[in-house]
């Protein structure tokens, strides 16, 4: 096994995208922003990803829809130009900019040709720093958000995810979402003044990470970022510790609960089973739990797919993973969909596989094969500029140095069966897991 990993590393080390990645990346504070630039061999293409702490958790006790509404207002004009003038400039050169609001972060993504990077950075800076936040546009954004939330009310996936997260994350935890109905009410009550206040309070460079990857010239990128973001201030830190969940020895409030959400006219049931963990992705035992979980539920050869789908034909898709653990302790869950008539059998099979995995642990053979697969897919994922940029941002958000980009395969290779099985037993307990079913039950 060791020999294989070495040969794989040699194979990839011959190529620039993966060779000593940390050395190829340049990371420096620029205009108060944590800027990472990474030059690859792709011609003309530049990918930009960035994140700042301005997600839903920052609504605190205020209006829960305001962070999302603020994000939705960013591409609706700036103090200098209306949204259509900006859109025309981008579309004229085939450039793309988008924003998304998550539990903790506002994320910005962009793709453009190398020659258009100054234009794209100028627009992003203007949209982040000085969005118009006009009342008329706010009304349209609010109407769109209300529509999207109403549509989600009938989504089995959205309803099950909301119920699960609310069951396992306590009040005050940044991962605990509002209910869809609470958000609907909040969206209807939100005002443009609240959006303006939120923007003023939370948007700024202080904890903003920006990654530029692709055909970027390091000598040009930093001065450009410095220029367009010059004089910008503000920004607040991520809420890392707030409402952190307890270790598994003290069960979450809803431990062992079964939540059923009836929805009419649904032909497929969304199913979730899991619990909060006390682990962040960068915690020492987290990688062991991730790899052990991959053996249970990542891919067709995982235990869940090979039995519940392949052998028993009970589902189209089932998997297990760790979620929302980038910035704070997250959750572990199995997700699947079942036809209503196969739901009881599907749940029984899933619980059986979970119990066997939890009690018996993983085997040496499983771990050897999984290590090889995880390392291989890691490098395949880095073969596109987008994949590379996303990995760099995730690495920083998880609190690692960029050295982790090179260290990850070695860390996976160093894992042992006892370490993985200990992590499974220490951080999970099937008896305390929450089960959610949403659909026509």
């Amino acid at each position: 096994m060791k020999a294989w990993v070495l040969s794989l590393a040699l194979c990839f080390c011959a190529l620039p995208a993966a060779a000593q990645m940390a050395e190829r990346a340049r990371r420096a504070p620029v205009a108060g922003i944590d800027l990472v630039t990474y030059h690859t061999d792709v011609k003309d293409v530049v990918v930009l990803v960035g994140a700042m702490p301005a997600g839903d958790a920052f609504a605190s006790s205020g209006n829960g829809a305001v962070p999302t509404l603020t994000g939705m207002m960013l591409d609706r004009g700036t103090s200098a130009q209306d949204q259509f003038a900006i859109a025309r400039q981008l579309e004229d050169v085939g450039a793309e900019i988008s924003y998304a609001v998550g539990p903790q972060s506002l994320q910005v993504r962009a793709k453009c040709l190398k020659k258009d990077l100054p234009l794209v950075l100028t627009i992003i800076a203007a949209e982040l720093r000085a969005p118009a936040l006009a009342a008329a546009e706010f009304g349209k954004a609010r109407q769109q958000l209300i529509g999207m939330l109403e549509a989600s009310l009938q989504s089995t996936d959205a309803r099950s995810e909301e119920a699960f997260a609310r069951a396992v994350f306590p009040q005050g935890n940044p991962n605990r979402p509002h209910t869809l109905e609470e958000l609907l009410g909040a969206a209807k009550a939100a005002t443009v003044d609240e959006v303006r206040a939120f923007h003023a309070a939370y948007y700024g460079p202080a904890h903003f990470t920006l990654v530029l990857a692709g055909d970027v010239a390091l000598s040009e990128t930093e001065p450009l970022v410095a220029q367009v973001f010059a004089g910008w201030s503000g920004g607040q830190a991520y809420r890392e510790g707030a409402g952190a969940v307890a270790a598994v020895s003290t069960a979450p409030a809803s431990g062992g609960a079964e939540i059923r959400i009836p929805l009419a006219d649904k032909t497929s049931v969304s199913f979730l089973l899991g619990q909060a963990t006390d682990l962040r992705a960068r915690d020492p035992e987290a990688l062991a739990l991730q790899v052990g979980t991959a053996i249970l539920g990542d891919g067709f050869t995982s235990r869940l797919m090979s039995t519940v789908r392949d052998r028993e034909g009970l589902t189209y898709g089932i998997g297990a993973g760790l979620f929302d653990d980038t910035l704070t302790a997250g959750a572990w869950q199995i997700d699947a969909t079942f036809v209503p008539t196969l739901l009881p059998k599907g749940v029984a099979s899933t619980r059986r596989e979970l119990q066997q995995w939890w009690q018996g642990g993983v085997s040496e053979a499983e771990l050897a094969l999984r290590k090889r697969g995880l390392i291989g897919s890691y490098f395949v994922g880095l073969s596109t500029t987008t994949g590379l940029a996303d990995r760099i941002l995730l690495t920083i958000q998880r609190g690692y140095d960029l050295d982790w980009l090179d260290a990850y395969p070695h860390a996976v290779d160093a894992l042992t069966v006892p370490a993985i099985n200990a992590a499974i037993r220490s951080h999970l307990d099937p008896a305390k897991m929450v089960m959610v079913e949403a659909g026509s039950l």
């Binding site: 194979c11 990839f12 011959a14 995208a17 061999d41 792709v42 011609k43 003309d44 293409v45 990918v47 259509f84 859109a87 025309r88 981008l90 579309e91 004229d92 050169v93 085939g94 453009c112 040709l113 349209k140 109407q143 769109q144 209300i146 529509g147 999207m148 549509a151 009310l153 009938q154 059923r260 009836p262 009419a264 006219d265 649904k266 032909t267 497929s268 891919g299 067709f300 050869t301 090979s306 789908r309 392949d310 052998r311 034909g313 009970l314 189209y316 079942f338 036809v339 196969l342 094969l369 697969g373 291989g376 490098f379 395949v380 880095l382 073969s383 596109t384 500029t385 987008t386 026509s440």
Partner: protein
């Protein structure tokens, strides 16, 4: 929404130099390095960085796209068989067969520990398969050193699939689960119903996944017959994109695929033709939901037709970005949450759709009227030169984007293979570059007559069950 991946992908097509070549013998120029064509292969042409070969013993088509910017390779096999080749009683058979292709072949089987899923997951490959109306495709992106192992497995299952009844039984319920997941989404049901109404004779009438009763009852013998009819080298195209050596990959293809003969019988084609539509058609989906939606569909020519570039420019003008006409007329005005236009390109007659999801307070009639009004406006007044130029510039950028990674390029080539001419992967952007505003107006007038429309409404009924 059944948004065609091809019509989305078209935005990333290159404006590479056209270099059509007749079949030629050695030496040939592959990428930058001249080489002799190995024995057993015919060099067909090189176009836009893609080298086309034919395995002479059995007619296997091969497209090689060298790209050494990363140490990975995407290997893809496209079989020219899709739901268009199905008839009553076997709808969905193509797709079930796609699933069965992962159940083991004579040389590679999970029970022996060397199945395709096991191999690809053990080497960290990204892989999948999918089925459309016109083709079935298997593909994986792997490290360059792991390519030969995948080629061997992929070739083995071309003609040596086990197709066990016990596997069919388990997989039938898997596919049934997949079917029901699709039925969960009212818009998915709506587009299926609109498609079924738009096509009367062509087999595009039925959904790719098939009708539920056929999924549940199709016998293994019919799947076997389907496999033995269509899974032959002369009905397939191998596409390889990424870090490989041409001589080596050709050697592997000969070694693993050269063992098969051509199909013993001609691959059957579809001879059915769609009769002309003689009046507007309407369908309604009524079920629980919060928001309604509207689809307006028109039949347009096959994907190879000379009018498709102008139709593609029309779609971008209607729905690409915030400058697009549908965004301004429907979304910015508050009538819709989203609006789009696109064409599902087919080997035979294709389907163009306008789609909008209603905003709160809007009615289907209002949204339908607004969608139609944008078409009418273009029919009467045309589009501007600036709008057409904007779309062309987007193609230029997309050309660079599609060179970033191997899987995306392979997927786009795959869709052009499906419609019957892979060279459109290279030529389509050039054809778009020649489109004029007058062309856009002409095709809008030609294909979007109201009496040729098939209109679908999803009418959301108040949920009968709600929060516990």
């Amino acid at each position: 929404m059944s948004r065609c991946s091809l019509s989305l992908g078209l935005l990333s097509f290159a404006c590479a130099a056209l270099a059509t070549g007749a079949a030629q013998t050695d030496p040939v120029q592959t990428g930058a390095v001249p080489m002799r064509v190995p024995d057993g292969f015919a060099f067909v042409q090189s176009l836009g960085g893609i080298d086309e070969y034919r395995l002479t013993s059995n007619g296997l088509e091969i497209l090689l796209v060298p790209d050494r910017s990363a140490p990975v390779v995407t290997f893809q096999v496209t079989y020219r068989v899709g739901s268009r080749n199905e008839v009553t009683g076997t709808t969905g058979a193509t797709h079930i067969l796609e699933h069965m292709m992962f159940k083991g072949s004579e040389g590679y089987d999970d029970a022996r520990g060397n199945g395709v899923k096991q191999y690809l997951e053990h080497v960290g490959g990204e892989y999948n398969a999918n089925t459309s109306v016109d083709r079935t495709t298997y593909f994986a992106t792997v490290g360059a050193k792991d390519l030969e192992g995948y080629v061997a497995i992929e070739a083995d299952r071309m003609r040596r699939l086990l197709l066990r009844e016990s596997d069919r039984q388990a997989e039938m319920t898997v596919v049934r689960n997949e079917y029901e997941r699709g039925q969960n989404d009212p818009d998915n049901v709506l587009i299926e119903d609109v498609t079924a109404a738009a096509y009367v004779a062509l087999p595009y009438h039925h959904p790719v996944i098939g009708w539920l009763s056929d999924i549940e009852h199709v016998p293994i013998e019919k799947l076997r017959a389907f496999y033995d009819t269509f899974y032959w080298p002369d009905n397939a195209t191998v596409t390889v994109v990424g870090d490989f050596d041409t001589a080596t990959i050709l050697q592997w293809l000969k070694k693993y695929y050269g063992v098969y003969p051509r199909s013993p019988a001609p691959i059957p084609d579809v001879y059915t033709e769609e009769p002309a539509q003689i009046g507007e058609r309407r369908v309604t989906v009524q079920r629980s939901g919060e928001l309604g939606s509207v689809v307006i569909a028109h039949k347009v020519p096959n994907g190879r037709d000379a009018d498709q570039p102008a139709l593609d420019v029309l779609d971008a003008i209607l729905s690409s970005g915030k400058s697009a006409r549908l965004y301004r007329a429907l979304v910015d005005s508050g009538l819709a949450l989203s609006a789009s236009a696109g064409t599902d390109l087919h080997r035979d007659i294709s389907l163009h759709t306008l789609y909008a999801q209603l905003a709160e307070g809007a009615t289907q009639a209002q949204v339908e009227k607004a969608l139609s009004a944008e078409i009418t406006k273009i029919q009467a007044q045309g589009v501007t030169a600036a709008e057409v130029e904007r779309v062309k510039q987007q193609y230029v950028a997309a050309d660079a984007y599609r060179r970033d990674g191997t899987a995306g390029a392979a997927a786009e080539i795959n869709e052009w293979i499906a419609v019957g001419d892979w060279t459109l992967y290279v030529r389509f952007p050039q054809l778009v570059a020649a489109v004029s505003p007058a062309d856009v107006q002409r095709v809008t007038r030609k294909y979007f007559a109201p009496d040729k429309a098939t209109i679908g409404w999803f009418v959301a009924e108040p949920p009968t069950e709600h929060r516990p």
